[in-house]
C-alpha cells in the first residue's frame, strides 16, 4: 500500500546496533560533473566524476545514547576498544534503508537552558553504499 514516509518511520543503526533517541538524520549524495567541452562546441558538456555522500544526524543526550557516536568521532579506543577508522551506518525509514561505511567527522554538543541536550554528528561516506533499499 502506498504511503508517505515521515519522521516517525526513521531510525539509525551504528555498527548494527540501533541508536536511541535519534531526532533527525540526513544524507546528501553528490556526483562531480567533469567538463568535456571541446573547442568546436559552444555549449558546455559534462560527464560524471567521483561520487560522494555526506550527512548528519542528531541524537538526544538521553542516558548514554550518543556515547558510541562520540567515541567514534574522537577515535577513542581507550573508552571503546571496538572503535575502528570507519563506522557502519544504516539510515532507515520504515522498511527502506541506506547502509554504508562512514567516517564520523564532527560532533557538536549543545546544552541550552530550556532545551533537551542534543548531539549533532556529521559524517562522510567512505566507499560506495554497501546496500540500500529505496
Amino acid at each position: 500500500m502506498a504511503k508517505y514516509y515521515a519522521g516517525q518511520d526513521g531510525s539509525v543503526e551504528l555498527g548494527g546496533v540501533a541508536v536511541a533517541k535519534v531526532v533527525q538524520w540526513s544524507l546528501t549524495a553528490n556526483t562531480d560533473a567533469l567538463e568535456v567541452t571541446v573547442l568546436n562546441e559552444d555549449v558546455r558538456t559534462f560527464t560524471t566524476g567521483v561520487r560522494t555522500a555526506s550527512g548528519a544526524l542528531t541524537v538526544l543526550y538521553y542516558d548514554d545514547a550518543p556515547v558510541k557516536l562520540l567515541n567514534q568521532v574522537n577515535q577513542d579506543t581507550t573508552a571503546d576498544s571496538s572503535i575502528t577508522a570507519t563506522a557502519r551506518l544504516k539510515l532507515k525509514f520504515d522498511d527502506k534503508f541506506l547502509e554504508f561505511d562512514a567516517v564520523l567527522t564532527s560532533a557538536e554538543l549543545a546544552c541550552v537552558v530550556g532545551e533537551v541536550m542534543r548531539v549533532n554528528v556529521n559524517y562522510t561516506m567512505s566507499g560506495d553504499f554497501t546496500s540500500k533499499s529505496l
Binding site: 567533469l34 567538463e35 568535456v36 567541452t37 573547442l39 568546436n40 560527464t47 566524476g49
Partner: protein, 133 residues
C-alpha cells in the same frame, strides 16, 4: 622528415604564439636600438593543448603520437577537424603552421593526469621548428 597525423581529438583549450624572428639586438648607451636580422622566417612558435577528461584510450593515442613523432625526424600534422577545430579560417593557417615553413614538434613529453578510473587529462606542448637546411 615525415608528417605524422595527430589523433582525431579536439582540445578543450588551445594557446598559440607565433614565435620570433632570428635577430640580434644592440642597444647603445643613448638608448638607440639596432637590430641585425639573420633571416626572414619566424621560428619557435608554440602551441599548448589541453585535452580535459578524455578516455584513457584517447590519452594513449596522444602518447603514441608523441613516440611516432619524436622517435624519428618527424613532425606532427594537425587538421581542422582535430587540433584546429573551432578556429576560424583566418586563424587555422597559423595553428596548423601552413602559412610558414615551421613544423610542429613536441617541445616536451605529454603530461597525463588521471582524473578518475578511465578518464585522464592530457596536456601537450608543441614547438614550431624550421626544417634544417
Amino acid at each position: 622528415m615525415a608528417a605524422v597525423s595527430f589523433p582525431a581529438l579536439v582540445p578543450s583549450s588551445r594557446s598559440y604564439t607565433p614565435g620570433v624572428f632570428p635577430e640580434q639586438q644592440f642597444q647603445a648607451q643613448n638608448g638607440a636600438v639596432v637590430r641585425v636580422r639573420y633571416g626572414n622566417q619566424r621560428y619557435s612558435s608554440s602551441l599548448s593543448l589541453t585535452f580535459a577528461n578524455i578516455t584513457d584510450a584517447n590519452a594513449a593515442l596522444i602518447l603514441q603520437n608523441f613516440v611516432d613523432v619524436m622517435d624519428d625526424d618527424n613532425y606532427a600534422e594537425f587538421t581542422t577537424s582535430n587540433v584546429a577545430a573551432g578556429a576560424s579560417t583566418d586563424l587555422v593557417p597559423w595553428i596548423r603552421e601552413t602559412n610558414s615553413l615551421l613544423k610542429w614538434k613536441y617541445a616536451e613529453p605529454p603530461s597525463v593526469t588521471s582524473v578518475k578510473p578511465g578518464l585522464s587529462t592530457v596536456t601537450c606542448e608543441f614547438i614550431g621548428e624550421l626544417e634544417g637546411a
